[in-house]
């Protein structure tokens, strides 16, 4: 991250482009597009640069104009961490990851031998046993559009589970265009490979999502996003509902992937198609049940498994009245 920042500002010094904001912003826009404003910060390799990488409420552009004006090679506040050393460490780290990826490709998919991957029937994808597991998730609420909901994520007791808690407020923001509001979401970060390339999960051997949670009786929505490089795909996701029971007992929720329906820009589409599992980017949990008040959700782990009793391919048929072009 720090490396890319330095490269970009290097180009600014070299080219002396007057329209630096427009030149930098699309580049950075693509890079930062999937980081929402959150209460967590990802630990950076160079702690001195953490302040420049952090998203402010004021927006990306104003922040970078301030940063670029300052001399980049100014000495750090903490003398023991030097910027160049951090850059070198990060370059080495990325090359090491690249080497690992190439070597792992010879062993098998994701570095595991092929027979293990083919026979696997239950896989834990996200678990919450330490603080570093929490860093894989981003937490958003409708504060980004001016609402009043708050949401926080922290480790539960004994570091054995994660707790997502907060207050939901469905008071609509007075910005003249939203009539409804009130949502909180917890989204997983897209897995990154060497040089911050976007990787994806391959769950094509599995057919059910398994969650071990403990909620308070509220209905949540599970959203799965596929490969988000194309700009249209950024707004598309597959969703389904997750009903928590409430109570002191842990609840096991199994949602088959055939039940997920397709939506674009927040609206269910007429043409429904199956969720294809070979390039999953991220998963998210949303609470938007129009009821004001505090909520909490404890998650133990999230996994995928093959349910041999589930043979349905897709749960929703297309209707000839609404989408006649499909039936010609």
């Amino acid at each position: 991250m720090a490396l890319i920042y330095k490269l970009l500002n290097g180009t600014y010094i070299l080219s002396k482009c007057p329209k630096r904001s427009t030149a930098l912003h699309p580049f950075l826009g693509i890079h930062f597009a999937d980081y929402c404003s959150s209460s967590l910060q990802k630990p950076e390799a160079a702690p001195g640069k953490a302040s420049s990488q952090r998203k402010t409420e004021g927006g990306l552009q104003g922040h970078h104009q301030k940063e670029v004006a300052v001399d980049i090679t100014s000495p750090e506040e903490k003398p023991e961490v030097s910027f160049d050393k951090a850059i070198r460490d990060e370059i080495k780290d990325h090359f090491r990851r690249l080497k690992d990826e190439i070597v792992n490709h010879w062993i098998g998919p994701e570095g595991r031998p092929l027979h293990e991957v083919l026979l696997e029937q239950a896989k834990v994808v996200w678990q919450f046993r330490g603080k570093e597991d929490l860093d894989k998730w981003v937490v958003t609420s409708d504060k980004t559009i001016g609402g009043r909901s708050e949401v926080f994520l922290k480790m539960g007791k004994n570091n054995q589970s994660a707790l997502l808690y907060g207050t939901l407020s469905s008071e609509a923001p007075q910005d003249g265009e939203s009539s409804r509001s009130g949502y909180c979401a917890m989204i997983s970060r897209i897995p990154r490979g060497a040089f911050e390339r976007k990787m994806s999960y391959d769950w094509s051997h599995f057919n059910t999502l398994y969650l071990r949670v403990r909620g308070d009786g509220r209905p949540w929505m599970v959203n799965i996003r596929e490969d988000t490089d194309i700009i249209q795909r950024k707004n598309q996701m597959y969703s389904y509902f997750m009903f928590t029971r409430g109570g002191p007992y842990w609840q096991e929720i199994k949602i088959p992937f055939s039940k997920f329906f397709f939506s674009n820009q927040g609206r269910i589409r007429d043409v429904q198609s199956q969720l294809l599992l070979d390039k999953i980017s991220s998963i998210g949990f949303t609470l938007a049940d129009k009821v004001d008040g505090p909520f909490f959700l404890e998650i133990d782990f999230i996994g995928v498994f093959t349910d041999p009793a589930h043979t349905e391919e897709f749960a929703y048929e297309n209707s000839p009245e609404i989408s006649p072009r499909l039936f010609k």
Binding site: Q121, K123, F243, I322
Partner: protein, 401 residues
């Protein structure tokens, strides 16, 4: 002084004769931002004695149609009526929605030729129709044949409200019954019934018994007892009773709470009686008893697996917590009420008399608490036999820890 409402030029005077008969009410308290009154707001203001309910709403909507033959400003009126539905309590009534759709003039907005069909014909009215259907969808009201006929009459078959109606017909039935733990739409108002509903929902064991330890007294009770007595409803299953009977009296049991449970839009709070996990060395190993019944097996261990290669277990140690012995919902969350619950539990669980009970009540509603080994405070030594001694170790948690 009745407020000055903006009147359109062609508005008939008859529409506002209700205004002169109204008793002028007290001035509205100023709120920020100050909202301008909509043109037909005064139509919805009822006379002081008349209650706001379905009949008065229906009357108001019908009055609009009668006094205003050309139905001018019907779009604004419908938007206002949609906003006012919640006050009158009719937002889940299909007949009222059909009546509201009836306000639209018929046959005027239907496209008559191909050009009108290409461009959205009367977009403002179509948007209004879509808003009516959207409010129906948000409140979980399913449209019926009358709605379909009205929409065809007003907008035609190829219009956006008709498309939305088709989508509602497709998707609402699909998601109507997907909840494995359904909560009835009309929650009971009585707190005891609500507590029973909540407890039954939380306890997966169907053979659990719900007991009401204390009923709230009616409001006109003039006896010696405290009139604000809270209700206490508890639940315990036979398995939990057996586990409590087997529990070692040397280890304390904890009353933890209050935790929140949401039933649709009501939040209730419950407490649990649980013990800590036994350390691995003290855990009992379950012995498989001899098969004493030759006709059918007493223990059946069926698995999914087809053979040795099938393994559906996850490669992770799940979170383990101590056993829960009973749950309760009470009107008050203080120790005295919960002590009464424990006393009531003692009648069915005589073993509870020997076990020290530690109260761990959080100051505010927060997440579920379990003990972490470092923070636990040791309970006092077990009491003499025959007496129940409650260790009142009350730890106030700071906020949401």
């Amino acid at each position: 002084v009745p407020p000055q409402t903006p009147r359109s030029l062609h508005c008939s005077a008859a529409a506002h004769n209700s205004e002169s008969s109204l008793v002028p009410g007290p001035p509205e308290p100023r709120r920020k931002p100050i909202k301008a009154l909509s043109p037909y707001e005064d139509l919805f203001r009822q006379a002081p004695g008349v209650e706001r309910d379905k009949a008065s709403f229906v009357r108001t909507v019908q009055n609009f149609g009668q006094h205003n033959v050309h139905k001018r400003g019907h779009v604004d009126f419908i938007y206002l009526a949609l906003r006012k539905m919640r006050e009158f309590g009719v937002e889940r009534d299909l007949a009222v929605y059909n009546l509201l759709l009836d306000v639209f003039p018929k046959e005027v907005f239907r496209p008559r030729n191909v050009f009108q069909r290409i461009f959205v014909h009367y977009p403002r009215q179509q948007e209004c129709g879509i808003t009516v259907l959207e409010q129906m969808e948000n409140n979980g009201v399913m449209p019926n044949k009358e709605t379909e006929f009205l929409l065809i009459q007003i907008f035609g078959r190829k219009s956006y409200p008709m498309l939305k109606f088709l989508r509602m017909k497709l998707w609402l039935p699909r998601f109507k019954n997907i909840s494995p733990f359904p909560v009835p739409r009309d929650l009971p108002q009585d707190p005891v019934d609500l507590a029973k509903l909540g407890l039954r929902r939380m306890e997966p064991d169907l053979s659990a018994k719900v007991t009401v330890y204390q009923m709230p007294l009616s409001k006109d009770w003039t006896g010696a007892l405290d009139p604000t007595q809270p209700h206490i409803v508890g639940i315990q299953s036979p398995d939990q009773q057996a586990a409590l009977a087997r529990h070692n009296p040397a280890r304390p049991v904890f009353v933890e709470g209050p935790f929140s449970l949401w039933l649709r839009n009501k939040c209730v709070y419950y407490h649990i009686l649980r013990a800590d996990l036994l350390p691995p060395e003290e855990r009992e190993v379950e012995e498989t008893p001899e098969e004493w019944n030759l006709y059918y097996p007493m223990q059946l261990d069926l698995e999914y697996a087809r053979g040795g290669w099938d393994d559906y277990e996850f490669d992770i140690d799940e979170v383990e917590e101590g056993p829960v012995f009973a749950m309760c919902m009470a009107g008050a969350h203080d120790q005295a009420t919960l002590a009464k619950w424990i006393q009531g539990l003692q009648e069915t669980n005589p073993a509870l008399a020997q076990i020290p009970v530690v109260f761990r009540l959080a100051g505010s509603t927060g997440e579920l608490l379990t003990s972490s080994p470092g923070l636990e405070e040791p309970a006092r030594p077990p009491p003499p036999e025959g007496q129940e001694e409650e260790d009142t170790v009350q730890r106030q948690q700071q906020g949401q820890s």
